[in-house]
């Protein structure tokens, strides 16, 4: 099963490689990984999407918790949370029907055009993985020439509140 782990680690040189090294040394898999500042800038939040049965995930959490500079490891999958991924996609589309098709897909998927030239557009999409995947698949026949994806970031939410985006889609 897919799990999203949120790891709070001291913002110090080499700490990310400790986490990544632990995953490879113990044969755990990393599907996506993203790192950035957390609420307190002295601490980074590393979000890792991984796969495994409950025992494997439990073991990953425990192994990460052994690291001296890791403050907290949370399997956010086990509680209410929001997950998002962002993608930048370059689509080859000159003025005309292709470009119109891109623009209408952008509007349906609540994506954004962030760059445009005579021959191509760069579009920005965010959402859960399935949404981004579908968006890219629909753009492919038009002519996708490059893709870059951030991997998931995730944050806890209160259980009582509905996921607005999920309702909207």
């Amino acid at each position: 099963m897919r799990h999203t782990l949120s790891i709070i680690v001291a913002d110090e040189p080499g700490e990310l490689s400790r986490i990544v090294g632990l995953f490879s040394a113990r044969g755990f898999n990393i599907e996506t990984l993203s790192v950035g500042e957390s609420l307190d800038p002295r601490w980074s939040r590393v979000t890792i999407v991984t796969r495994g049965d409950d025992r494997t995930i439990h073991q990953i959490v425990k192994q990460c918790e052994r690291l001296a500079r890791v403050r907290e490891v949370q399997d956010v999958t086990t509680r209410p949370h929001i997950e998002r991924e962002m993608a930048l996609i370059t689509v080859s589309a000159s003025a005309g029907a292709d470009r119109q098709e891109v623009l209408s897909l952008v509007s349906v998927f609540r994506a954004k055009v962030v760059d445009i030239s005579h021959t191509q557009l760069i579009v920005e999409a965010s959402g859960n993985k399935e949404k981004v995947d579908t968006f890219i698949e629909l753009l492919r026949p038009i002519g996708v020439t490059d893709i870059t994806r951030t991997g998931y970031i995730a944050i806890n939410r209160l259980a009582a509140q509905p996921d607005i985006e999920r309702i909207a889609s």
Partner: protein, 584 residues
């Protein structure tokens, strides 16, 4: 960079002149941690530190080794003999890489170690400078934590935290990598008593409800076994374990690392568990209804095939490292925490039982003990004696007799190690120091030197093979230099014996690259180093030669020519289980 050069070569004439250098701060911080011995080997990147150590030689004694691997194993021997932190100092590049085997060994065997490595100056890091290696990167997978010190002023906090980390929770090695310019730079020194990152090191107290549940399971078990490991020694749980096992008459089986955690000569002790463990211990675990795992990690050399390990048993797992719990085997009940604390809790619960309840519990296990005694009678540890060859097992028995069972024994890895484990009944914690997890040949001699240094009055014996001995025999010079009178027993069979045994048993006797009969004359080698050399070739002379060597005041090497193709039995083939045990 200009400023840096100035700091290194000609410090600015200013008030900064009066501030201590990084090297001074390091030495101060080590003294503050109670360090009295350092094992090391100098080199370019640690010159400032060595300069300072010379000045501080009244407060800290440095022991000059002959190879950095030896330094780390000595520090391990020192740490495991005493429970104190072993400290190592080596230079950058090859100094650090030579130390890696020892660091990995200490990591696997949960040994208290702080290893200080020199590094090239900061401005050269990443330039493939002379003797540069990414020490922090190389050692990352086999340390509890490591540091690259960027500023001299960080040194007191880093040293404080390094010792705290090494000591707390499950012990292990910590590396501090110090660039040469950092050991030269001047800064304010302030003694530190706190650590900035305390959360990672602390282990949670044992959960009382779980302890209660565990105790009730044990009390009601019909066929329980206590499976004990190195955690008993590390937590100082020897007395608690003995009292608890006796109070309920529970069978105990130690792992290799657990030997000495419970007296091997005790009637409740079934002997070692695992690949070369006793038939009774392995059968008892295979037939148990409750396996109480205390300070162990379910190593593959213990469990064999996991799917058929203790198939009928509920498992209670007590370990200080939460990541050990559920790593290889999913327990029915987990107690993350200090094993001494857990045993003390169990003992308290024993006291709360009525005599009748205790008696009933003990009586209910009598059929289990009958069964165990049967296994012990059916398949005791045994070997075939010989009139004209010295049997390695006889050597260990003889050694036990001559030392009254009181020796501190270190070993290398292989057949001799297993014979020591089988035939020298250890009765005290810290009495056997062996390379368990990593299985490092060449461990025995330097570990013995470190142990001897820590315990000057103790008889320390390294039992080694002729293969392992030749991996670190240069440390004879260290032992002689410092007058550390270790005794080295070489079980010389001219083979890499354990590999040969596997080739004999599992590879149709294809003896591929295991013949090491071309070797130095070990007696002459000992003498060349200024140690005494002895040799025993015939059974009739074994006792007198051993006796003479043990009575020798200085370093003694005994070359014992043993049966060439002797095998260690019993053996559970890799990936099999107790029922597949080959007993002879």
């Amino acid at each position: 960079m200009v400023a840096q050069q100035q700091t290194i070569n000609e410090p600015l004439r200013s008030a900064a002149q009066d501030l201590p250098t990084g090297a001074e701060m390091l030495v101060e911080a080590l003294v503050h941690e109670g360090v009295d011995a350092i094992f090391g080997y100098p080199g370019g990147a640690v010159l400032h530190i060595y300069d300072e150590l010379w000045r501080a030689r009244d407060r800290i004694t440095h022991y000059l080794v002959r190879h950095e691997q030896g330094a780390v194993h000595m520090a391990e021997g020192y740490a495991r003999a005493t429970g104190r932190v072993g400290v190592v100092l080596v230079t950058s590049g090859p100094g650090a890489t030579n130390a890696v085997t020892g660091i990995a060994n200490a990591y696997m065997d949960s040994t208290l170690l702080v290893v200080i490595t020199g590094q090239v100056p900061k401005h050269l890091i990443g330039t493939d400078a002379f003797q540069e290696v990414d020490t922090v990167g190389i050692t990352r997978p086999c340390v509890k934590h490591n540091y690259l010190v960027r500023e001299a002023r960080d040194l007191p906090a880093i040293v404080r935290e390094a010792f705290h980390l090494a000591r707390s929770g499950r012990p292990g090695p910590v590396v501090i990598d110090i660039p040469k310019d950092v050991s030269a730079a001047r800064s304010n020194y302030s003694r530190l008593d706190h650590v900035s990152f305390p959360f990672s090191a602390e282990s949670a107290p044992v959960n009382e409800d779980s302890a209660q549940q565990a105790f009730e399971l044990i009390l009601g078990a019909k066929r329980p076994v206590l499976y004990i490991g190195g955690g008993i020694t590390n937590s100082g749980a020897f007395d608690g374990l003995l009292a608890f096992a006796e109070s309920l008459r529970l069978p105990v089986t130690p792992t290799l690392m657990g030997l000495g955690g419970f007296p091997s000569s005790h009637p409740l002790c079934l002997g070692m568990l695992g690949m070369h463990g006793t038939y009774a211990a392995n059968m008892a675990v295979a037939e148990s209804d409750l396996l109480v795992a205390l300070g162990v990690r379910f190593d593959d050399r213990v469990t064999g095939k996991l799917a058929t390990f203790a198939p009928q048993a509920s498992i209670i797992h007590v370990d200080i490292d939460p990541a050990n719990i559920g790593k290889n085997v999913a327990p029915s009940l987990a107690l993350a925490g200090d094993v001494k604390q857990a045993l003390d809790r169990f003992l308290l619960l024993v006291l709360q039982q009525s005599d009748e309840e205790l008696r009933a519990s003990v009586q209910a296990r009598e059929p289990w003990w009958d069964q165990i005694r049967n296994w012990q009678r059916q398949q005791p540890l045994r070997f075939t004696g010989s009139q004209d060859q010295i049997k390695p097992q006889t050597v260990i028995r003889e050694l036990h007799r001559l030392t009254g069972g009181e020796a501190l024994v270190t070993t290398d890895v292989g057949q001799h190690q297993m014979w020591v484990a089988q035939f020298y009944p250890f009765t005290k914690s810290r009495q056997l120091i062996t390379s368990g997890g990593l299985g490092t040949m060449g461990f025995g001699l330097p570990a013995a030197i470190g142990a001897q240094l820590a315990l000057p009055e103790q008889l320390v014996i390294a039992v080694v093979g002729d293969g392992g001995f030749q991996m670190t025999n240069q440390e004879l010079a260290t032992a002689v230099q410092y007058g550390l009178p270790v005794k080295i027993l070489i079980m010389n069979n001219g083979y890499l014996g354990m590999v040969r045994q596997w080739q004999e048993m599992f590879y149709d006797r294809t003896y591929s690259e295991v013949d090491i009969s071309v070797a130095p004359d070990f007696v002459k080698l000992a003498e060349a180093y200024g140690a005494a050399g002895f040799r025993a070739e015939r059974p009739a002379e074994l006792r007198s030669v051993l006796k003479a060597a043990l009575e020798h005041k200085g370093v003694a090497v005994v070359d014992i020519v043993v049966t060439k193709e002797e095998n260690v039995f019993p053996i559970v083939p890799a990936g099999a289980n107790a029922r597949d045990m080959i007993t002879q």
